[in-house]
Symmetry: C2
Subunit: 468 residues, 2 copies
């Protein structure tokens, strides 16, 4: 008894390390594991079977046949009758800097923050992620792998009168899981007004029932599937890019202080203002029976589709989709300095970003841009991309942008190894060489890395861990 | 010769560590040094002498006597005839969340990003910072210590026809110095529409001529002066808060992942929209001969002053100033957990923030708020501040907000030690316990820490290093 009393009273150790590497280590283990509950080939077949089982059908329809949507008489905006969902409005962007510029365009306005949630759980000591075979009307192949939950507030409040969103409770209640990452990230700043979504990874507690549209994969399998065209959807890619990674600890061409100071400098060089205006006040864009489009057929069109699907929350509906004119390119040029790979980021102005400027791939453009003969001179580094030696292409796949808003929006994602001849050590002012570690530390915060660069980061992370 | 050839060709070591602790170490050394070129007491006397030498005089004048300013006939906005400088406009803020709210108010619109620059240089192995005795018409004592450079674009483009801004070249050219930090930070979100300024610290190369309005101080001396009322101005305090600090490496109640996830959660709980509207469309505010004011005398007024000064870029001018109704409070409650001090931050909605929500002190309110008898119930933790035992007050001083825009805007800054009785370990949802290290790592990025919390962080940093 006396002995017991002499023992100092245990101080409750309620503190924890600020940065526990355990999750990063476990995720890295999963990333090098390519055998899962189902083989990766079988995942592709399973997706195909879900595609057939879904019996989905998407048809283009005239704008007038949209149900529950209307053009506002005074503004010309295309809106949902519930006032929720999203709307197509006009947008005025002005940039003041070395050169002053202003343009008007249609824009998607969707003020709601969606949940993009990956549910993970350990099986046989390896983290697996629950992926969904999800039909989205804008995908060329309709069904792709999406996060466990991909739902706007309208979705889960059932504004469209649909079914409950499966597994949502893991992301809305703290009792069902443990948060590994939860961060707001931007979406396409040229198509959306200030759109951000919540990128979440949660480790589930307890048994998770698996619905037939879902399957458990290792992160290594997702990495393999990212090498294929149009399998891993945009929402899955952005959450993957936010996955905590063990940093390599490598040095860099520029310190983090220099990187942030350069970025501040760019943000101060341009004063960007963007505001929504009535769609009818946007010149050079017209509306005919089937589309809102640019009079020269450039940029994109807004069209309407009718959807019949058995596997979605609601079985059939109509909706507008934004259809870009041709395939996009998003490419990182990469060079090794002292043996450490660096990627050339571009501080890019997109009118719809909350902070006007984010870090984008070295080259990011649409086909109408790069097919213009003058573009090779106008867009820095485009020539290096278009004339790259195939042997120098470290990554290449065509991926879809969000199929719930965009129709056939496909982007050729590339990582191309170059030399100082194509990309100098001291690049133009709005470009900067960064390491993967530096991208990883910036993606922990909002408003740094744009969605195209995040897709490439997800691919880089997958390749680095798998040793591809 | 043969030997020489065998030696491997040296690979140019162009990489550098991402995080070099040298600057933080040197700044910490300066922070513990309280003897400088001039004793700290002499700095106070020198400021007094500059005050007398400046022969400045600020007089309240009727709004109609503003020169170069006019009320726009259609909007009622108060604008400068150059279209630059700043304007007083109307503002509509709507918040949707658990409770929906909307309010209208006047707001300052100043789209320009100002440079707030501290120039540092080593003397006898200790970093010193070049501070300016700067007259600002809104300061109760007119002259306070400001950063080396504190200049809007209008200032240095000489829109008001003034003299050149001294030392600006160190912050605009890379040849004159080396950047230690350069980051955009927000200013008062209740008074400004989306205002951010550039917080820069540069180490000067070569001899720096010292003008009579300037003097070199150690960071330790600045820390001593922060213990006094109204000596270190707001712009100096915000740059000081961004100073790179050596982290203590202490554990925390919550990991960084939990902190960021909590912040994301708060940002998702509230949908905030803010837009400028015509000032004449703001109800409950009136304009008489001398002020734009709230009909119940609450919040603030916009008044006009005429300034005669010999020490500023222009010798005399008139301008509007925002005058708050009474003194503000900005207070961190602090508790030790397992011996590590934690500070209770409040994720606060201010309509003018670019990202709507930033981390603020535990209590931040104006006197018209806290003098309301119902306020003690309405404002969480206000009672703990107002009834604090004087022995528990770790820091207290009255400091001025930016005297170039605000008249007699004084805030009582406090840090108060409390127990679990006043501030529980699990606080209300919009509050969170963080360590100083965590504040230090967040202030490296924009849009996390509001300007009042940054003043307190500057004080905490000064106290921690000096062992006060």
């Amino acid at each position: 008894m006396a002995e017991k009393r002499l023992r100092p009273r245990a101080i409750p150790a309620i503190l924890r390390p600020r940065n526990d590497p355990t999750d990063a280590t476990r995720l890295a283990q999963s990333t090098v594991t390519t055998s899962g509950v189902m083989s990766t080939e079988d995942v592709v077949c399973w997706l195909e079977r879900r595609r057939l089982a879904g019996k989905s059908c998407v048809l283009r329809i005239p704008l007038a046949e949209l149900v529950g949507w209307r053009f506002d008489e005074s503004t010309g905006n295309l809106e949902h009758s519930s006032g929720r969902f999203f709307s197509v409005e006009g947008y005025r962007v002005s940039v003041e800097g070395e050169v002053s510029e202003q343009w008007l365009q249609p824009i998607l306005n969707q003020p709601e923050i969606a949940v993009l949630g990956l549910l993970v759980q350990e099986f046989n000591g390896i983290l697996h992620v629950l992926m969904q075979a999800k039909m989205e009307p804008g995908n060329c192949n309709l069904i792709q792998l999406s996060p466990t939950v991909q739902a706007t507030r309208s979705n889960y409040l059932k504004v469209h009168g649909g079914a409950a969103v499966r597994y949502l409770e893991y992301f809305t209640s703290q009792d069902r899981g443990r948060v590994i990452v939860d961060i707001l990230q931007s979406e396409q700043g040229t198509w959306f007004d200030r759109k951000v979504n919540r990128n979440i990874i949660v480790e589930a507690k307890g048994d998770v029932p698996v619905h037939e549209d879902f399957c458990w994969l290792t992160f290594g399998q997702l990495g393999q599937l990212l090498q294929h065209d149009n399998i891993v959807n945009m929402d899955a890619r952005t959450v993957l890019s936010c996955m905590p990674m063990s940093e390599t600890g490598s040095a860099a061409l520029h310190s983090d202080v220099e990187l942030l100071a350069w970025f501040t400098g760019v943000r101060c060089r341009y004063a960007v203002r963007a505001e929504r205006i009535p769609l009818s006040a946007v010149p050079h864009w017209t509306r005919d029976e089937v589309a809102i489009r640019h009079i020269e057929g450039r940029h994109f069109a807004v069209v309407a589709v009718s959807v019949n699907a058995e596997s979605r929350e609601t079985a059939s509906w109509t909706q507008p989709l934004l259809e870009p004119c041709g395939e996009g390119i998003a490419c990182f040029l990469t060079r090794e300095f002292d043996g450490v790979p660096h990627y050339l980021v571009h501080a890019s102005i997109e009118g719809g970003f909350v902070n006007a400027i984010e870090l984008a791939p070295t080259v990011q453009c649409t086909s109408s841009d790069y097919k213009d003969p003058a573009a090779r001179d106008r867009i820095p580094f485009l020539d290096a991309v278009l004339s790259a030696n195939p042997k120098c292409i470290q990554y290449q796949a065509v991926q879809s942008e969000e199929g719930g808003r965009f129709l056939n929006a496909q982007t050729r994602y590339m990582v191309i190894g170059v030399t100082g001849r194509e990309a100098p050590t001291v690049p133009p002012p709005d470009y900067f060489w960064v390491t993967r570690d530096q991208l990883t530390s910036l993606v922990k915060h909002s408003s740094y890395i744009n969605i195209q660069a995040r897709t490439l980061l997800a691919c880089l992370n997958a390749m680095a861990n798998s040793g591809v």
